[in-house]
Symmetry: C2
């Protein structure tokens, strides 16, 4: 299906917003800076996204295209695909930076992305538990269940992103993630 001119323009604005948020965070981002980057006036941009929050919603939906680990069609996910996702992420620091900055901000008061991240993490933990159960069964090393290992898997992905963004030469993010998966593999106990 061909995208209309208006859809293309919106996609271009969302890409510009991703860049501006990576640079300044959401609170530091201005609609004026996004508009300038796509050669629009601020009034012109408001035609596509009437508020800064509407633009944030579009950015968060873009996150779902980028990383579908929170998706409801859980069948699509397996641990080896997650390892591939982390490898892919290591080739696009810009987008990882945008969402790491947004996650960090989301814990501040009344942040408009807070509900999004809260719901998303509940969904991601559920999906991770399903993935772990399908792969390793009910009993994981250390007496853990898939449900208890799921928040750890999620935490490792997020925490490694910060260490890697701060110091990409010191942290091999995909290798470290594979190391963690190895810790969860029952046969390697």
């Amino acid at each position: 299906m061909a995208r209309t001119r208006s859809e293309e323009r919106k996609a271009e604005i969302v890409r510009a917003a991703l860049e501006v948020i990576a640079e300044r965070g959401y609170r530091g981002a201005s609609l004026g800076a996004v508009a300038e980057r796509v050669g629009l006036t601020q009034q012109g941009l408001l035609h596509y996204f009437p508020t800064k929050e509407a633009l944030l919603v579009a950015v968060l939906e873009e996150r779902d295209r980028w990383d579908t680990s929170g998706a409801r069609d859980r069948e699509r996910w397996r641990l080896d695909l997650m390892e591939s996702l982390v490898e892919y992420n290591a080739m696009r620091p810009g987008i990882v930076q945008t969402f790491s900055a947004l996650l960090g901000e989301s814990v501040t008061e009344d942040h408009p992305a807070r509900a999004f991240f809260t719901e998303r993490y509940a969904q991601v933990r559920e999906n991770m538990a399903d993935v772990l159960r399908a792969e390793f069964g009910d009993e994981l090393p250390g007496g853990l269940t898939p449900e208890r290992a799921a928040p750890l898997l999620t935490a490792v992905m997020d925490g490694l992103q910060y260490q890697w963004l701060l110091d990409p030469d010191a942290v091999d993010m995909p290798a470290a993630f594979r190391d963690f998966v190895r810790l969860l593999r029952p046969e390697e106990r």
Copy 2:
């Protein structure tokens, strides 16, 4: 040693800054908001901290008092003390929120806390490797070395903080951290 009146005032300003950063992030924080909270004019506050960045440095030094896992006197650290630290953190969401917000922001462009976090994580990873070696020896589960497990231990602490801040009822942060330590324990393989 008794604190002088001026030192007390500075400590009070740092506490107010911790609160304002927890609410708005560093970029969203204004010196005016901090001054108001301690009953000073902005001019009055500048007498104690001449710039916003000087105040941030004091806040980051406060972090070091709060969590000495990056400290250079490594002997002080053991895994059970880290478990206690995570338990203690679960009782003070405010300060965890401040530093989680700062970590998130630190990956944006030219952030004044970036160098601090980069150096700190290098130090923390070194210390964690020492702690793991002292506790478990050179060979950890999954064929990992203490050096390869150190960034994972660090990532789990940070990542769990975000999940817990977003949804404290869904995530038992201290229990999850203890679960991760259990995964690293060779005798439980």
